[in-house]
Symmetry: C2
Subunit: 325 residues, 2 copies
Amino acid sequence: MKNLLEIYARKRRDISAIEKELEESVNNDHSLLRETSIHLLKAGGKRIRPVFVLLSGEFGNYELQTMKHVAVPLELIHMASLVHDDVIDDANTRRGQLTVRSKWDNRIAMFTGDYIFARALGVITQIPDPRVHQIMSKAIVEMSIGEMEQIRFFFHSEQSIRDYLLRIRRKTALLIAISCQLGAMASGAPDWLSTKLYNFGYNVGMAFQIRDDILDLTGTEKQIGKPPGSDVKQGNITLPIILCLQDPAIKPMILTELDRIHKLDGQTDVSRFLEMIRGSAGIKEADRLSQVYIDKAISSLDKLPNNQAKKDLIEIAHFIGNRSY
Amino acid sequence: MKNLLEIYARKRRDISAIEKELEESVNNDHSLLRETSIHLLKAGGKRIRPVFVLLSGEFGNYELQTMKHVAVPLELIHMASLVHDDVIDDANTRRGQLTVRSKWDNRIAMFTGDYIFARALGVITQIPDPRVHQIMSKAIVEMSIGEMEQIRFFFHSEQSIRDYLLRIRRKTALLIAISCQLGAMASGAPDWLSTKLYNFGYNVGMAFQIRDDILDLTGTEKQIGKPPGSDVKQGNITLPIILCLQDPAIKPMILTELDRIHKLDGQTDVSRFLEMIRGSAGIKEADRLSQVYIDKAISSLDKLPNNQAKKDLIEIAHFIGNRSY
């Protein structure tokens, strides 16, 4: 299987152009905001949203300038939500880098998020199509509801798989879905096509987050850029854990451990908990569900023309379904 | 002098319509977000931004439906910035009510702000004129830079009057300025007129914030809905204090007090500090500057038609220049 860099190679020049635009878009005369924003940008990320915009744009009349105006705000919105997420997660590292809240403080992280978000809006105003604005603003509302839902479900061991899926839909899948949809729409592709791409992105997004949640439980710090078990320390009960809680044989042990971690406010070693989960069927079952989403994503592309963009999207989907970082 | 309610009386029905729209715009199925948002709305406020939108709209072709789409997002943006502000200020009360961060917690306040802001964007997408979007997004960027500037200047006793004015320009005056400008623009008033109204709003906004900062030092808790001296406790050095620091006779005393408050992280009685400031010329001088802005605001309206809206704007300006709450 190709890695992301190989899949991205064909679009390297356009991805660099977007990277440059991202930097320019957060530039300003205020030294602290410039520092925090650039710190965030340089911490990297997979740039999945911009890449999906670019590839989806190839199903219409591809123009880099137009693609930029869609890709840049989507990535900025994603970044802004990450900084705010790090505040509630008390996260110290992300992608192996210090988070803004840890290098500076929570208040500075909050305002950095506000600023990056404001910049995203500035870029969006350059898009003439009002449908794009409506779709983006709806997704942003859902994301912000998802942020709050997250808090409500912290250490909530009675939640259902449905609760979890609804949460990651808002938190992750919607923004990836509209990245594909809007890339196609802005390039003038027909509606049926941008809807198919929306479905592709939605399903890839669901698989992406499930995979992320599995990795938090099974990965090494080197692989995932943060200590494993970070999710459960802050009370985030993810799919593999919910699945384990459905197994009466291990449910009591898991509950006891969750209770202990909760009482210690996450300030404790979670290696025993991780061992229990790793040895269970929950991980395998979650992985299977992630593969179901990947398969659904790929079949969403069935009726699409067999161009290079479609091949690339399929490769990225496979990568996401199997990634270990 | 009339009070605000008397001045607002003529527009009471339209203000109620906006109030209803504000409530509907933050409504949702998520109980916690609904609670925090409605708590914020019910805590009230002077609704100066919506009222300025409505009055400015009377210089063009006034249509309530259009006015709503401008007034509601401006008030929501203002509210969102207040919740985030309360987080950095560690504020417990505002307008005599518990703040979201105090009734719930900082994380919930952060996400409530994000949510209300997202809702504002949703309403904005209903406005067809792209100039409105551009003007709003620029103001939002400036506001977010202003939020961060605020932190940088906490307990910074060497700041100039210019630093202060630039800060309140971003923090307060710009949003009030564009409330007037966009009300006129959305009603189809000619550009020269919306520019004049921008100037009116800008100057009123500067006076408004100076007056606010004076009241924090001179008002009673009953008048201002929060304990007096709240600004200095969190390190916010406002105009009267900067002016006092320019007087060599009292500068050393003020510095010593500021230093003490800083060291105790604001967890101290500030009545001695307030006495020192109240007895100085700084308050009077700040008040004089606020009056200069009010005068400038009113002369911005010189060339405008002498309709009832103009009379109301002038009355509001006078009210703001003299208000004690």
